[in-house]
């Protein structure tokens, strides 16, 4: 039922084992897509988790996941038996987006775009068994990455202090402990630092098509017609293995804490338990890996720009780097008192409002950049957080799928899609035509509607719109 007095906000009343209501942010246009699939059942399942406070939230781009819906936000009260669930983070821990702003406009790039795309197509590792651009000699070097994140990359010459200032948490999530990461996860992660992977991961060259808030855009480092690069990837095999390992451990441990869950992928334990601490330390290590991964790809991107467009074009500035699959310990006001919460965002972006103390000085007056990639070939958005910071200061993370990969393949042929994108001025470098078809724009919700819903629902507001001119597809 709609929540009176609030736009685009729907409430699922608690029934059965639900401890809190479900709250879905969706416009009338998006609601039928949300209601058709399993996502709402998953929103209700999350509402049963021990220690959950306020509500089980669903962002406007919510869709069917496993355990949690993708686009789900849930917080538990750490000092009141609140749990942490690897299913509330997802397999790809710290999957996220970073946006780089180039010192060139679309007009200045001109015909050199093809040369730039060819260079990026060759140098950005992606797809199957590709390795990464940062070659770590051994597990000891990997452990430094796990505990140092993007800062470890910068210390190795792959980045600057300016980059770190524009990373969530300064590029390093505290509390990481490489000793909590299993041998199989380490083995999977050793040779993948600096690689996109596959699926919906990508590197896009974009241009700022519309500036909605020039003052905030300028503070973020963005202006009309500027060329940008958006990178979407995560913690690769290492993060997935950590998720798998800890779900298995928690499935066995739950009984000791008298926890039952409606879905095995919601396996969880109290944050204040040995298993909970172990997961959070390993998850933080994976988060740091994800940030180092995107940092390493940034350096490769800068080199490609310099090579294709001239040395000065290589000085791309980081606008922001934010994870959209993470659980974080944060303080929030609950019923008038400040509580320490474990905030799970699975396919949802933290969206700190203006004035928040965790923002770097130069961004604090404007709020946190929220990077929202659209589907391939359509617009992406830069939003910013707004007061008061609904849903524990969270917003959407993308367009959100609406069509299965199978269905996309029935509707779209990869070669045809490639031609269509090229005809509309988007250079495509894909590792697989079938993979390209599975990520066709038709398979996703309308990004314009998702962003407009975020705005009407008071989750974030628009700063700038970007359109793609080149896609390197994982």
């Amino acid at each position: 039922m709609p929540v009176p007095g609030f736009a685009d906000r729907w409430r699922i009343e608690p029934v059965g084992a639900m401890r809190v209501p479900g709250v879905v942010f969706a416009s009338a246009a998006l609601l039928p897509q949300v209601a058709e699939e399993e996502a709402l059942r998953q929103v209700a399942n999350v509402a049963t988790l021990p220690g959950i406070v306020e509500a089980s939230f669903a962002m406007p781009d919510v869709h069917w996941g496993y355990g949690f819906p993708i686009g789900g936000v849930a917080a538990t009260d750490v000092e009141d038996g609140g749990i942490v669930s690897p299913g509330g983070v997802g397999f790809d821990i710290s999957c996220g987006v970073r946006l780089l702003a180039a010192p060139v406009t679309l007009g200045e790039v001109g015909a050199a775009l093809r040369r730039l795309m060819d260079r990026l197509g060759v140098t950005i590792p992606r797809g199957l068994g590709s390795g990464g651009v940062w070659h770590l000699p051994d597990a000891g070097a990997l452990r430094k990455v796990l505990e140092g994140g993007a800062r470890a990359a910068a210390q190795a010459g792959l980045g600057t202090e300016a980059d770190l200032r524009r990373c969530e948490d300064g590029g390093v999530l505290v509390g990481a402990d490489a000793a909590q990461v299993g041998e199989r996860a380490l083995a999977r992660g050793l040779h993948q630092v600096g690689s996109l992977g596959s699926g919906n991961h990508f590197l896009e060259v974009q241009v700022v098509e519309k500036v909605d808030d020039p003052t905030t855009a300028a503070a973020f480092g963005l202006s009309a017609s500027q060329v940008c690069v958006m990178i979407h990837c995560g913690s690769r095999g290492l993060g997935h293995q950590i998720c798998s390992d800890h779900v298995r451990l928690m499935r066995d441990a739950m009984a000791r804490y008298a926890i039952t869950v409606p879905d095995a992928q919601l396996a969880c334990v109290p944050v204040r338990s040995p298993e909970g601490r172990s997961y959070l330390a390993a998850m933080a290590a994976a988060a740091n890996y994800g940030r180092a991964n995107r940092q390493a790809l940034t350096v490769t991107t800068r080199a490609a720009f310099a090579e294709a467009l001239g040395t000065s074009a290589g000085s791309l500035q980081l606008v922001y780097d934010v994870s959209h699959n993470l659980a974080k310990l944060e303080h929030h006001d609950i019923g008038g008192s400040e509580r320490l919460l474990c905030v799970h965002r699975k396919g949802a972006t933290r969206a700190l409002p203006p004035g928040h103390p965790d923002l770097p000085d130069d961004l604090r007056p404007f709020g946190q950049p929220v990077l929202v990639p659209g589907s391939m070939g359509t617009a992406s958005y830069v939003l910013t957080g707004v007061v008061p910071g609904e849903a524990f200061a969270s917003a959407c993370h993308g367009a959100g799928r609406t069509m299965s990969r199978h269905a996309a393949l029935r509707h779209v042929r990869g070669a045809e899609l490639c031609r269509r994108l090229e005809a509309s001025g988007i250079a495509v470098r894909a590792s697989s035509l079938r993979g390209l078809a599975e990520e066709a724009p038709e398979a996703y919700k309308d990004i314009y509607e998702v962003v407009a819903t975020c705005e009407r629902a008071g989750l974030a507001r628009r700063v700038a719109r970007l359109r793609p001119i080149g896609v390197v597809k994982g």
């Binding site: 797809g127 992977g197 690769r236 095999g237 298995r248 992928q265 990969r405 697989s432 079938r434």
Partner: protein, 154 residues
């Protein structure tokens, strides 16, 4: 010993063959369903389905044989363990398993091996699997055979 045979989309057939696998739509990821007369065959088919979801394998000779095993922790854990092994060797050794052999051990576990080819010998036809989910996982005896339904994160 159960050995994989690559099967087409058995869902399109009027009568289901005694063993096989198929891919079932999921919004963001991939679901593998398999079936067979016994647990090892059902698992071997699930493994074949997983590989078929992302790789078109050549008919060239395989380069290595790697061990494959699951302890006696139950069928659910076995399917997750075995499918994860495919993902593991893909990430760590850059190889793609193309043929699987499995049999039950005396202590109730499963043991066998998988023949692999180098990853650069296969054609990538879909998103690479990265994790195996327990969400809606089911495996067990049905109508005199075994059936498995497992969600793969891609």
């Amino acid at each position: 010993m159960a050995t994989v045979h690559r099967s087409g989309d058995a869902g399109a057939a009027t009568q289901e063959p005694p063993r096989g696998h198929r891919l079932v739509p999921h919004t963001a990821d991939c679901i593998v369903e398999s079936w067979g007369p016994d647990l090892p065959v059902c698992l071997v088919e699930a493994l074949g389905g997983l590989v078929g979801s992302f790789a078109e394998v050549p008919d060239t000779a395989t380069s290595r044989v790697l061990p494959l095993a699951a302890s006696s922790g139950g069928a659910e854990d076995a399917v997750v363990t075995l499918l994860e092994e495919v993902i593991y060797v893909l990430d760590v050794f850059s190889v793609v398993p193309v043929r699987f052999h499995l049999e039950e051990t005396e202590d109730g576990g499963l043991a066998g091996d998988m023949e692999v080819v180098r990853a650069d010998e296969v054609r990538l036809i879909g998103p690479v699997p990265k994790g195996i989910s327990y969400h809606d996982l089911s495996i067990g005896p049905v109508d005199g055979g075994w059936r498995c339904h497992v969600l793969v994160d891609v």
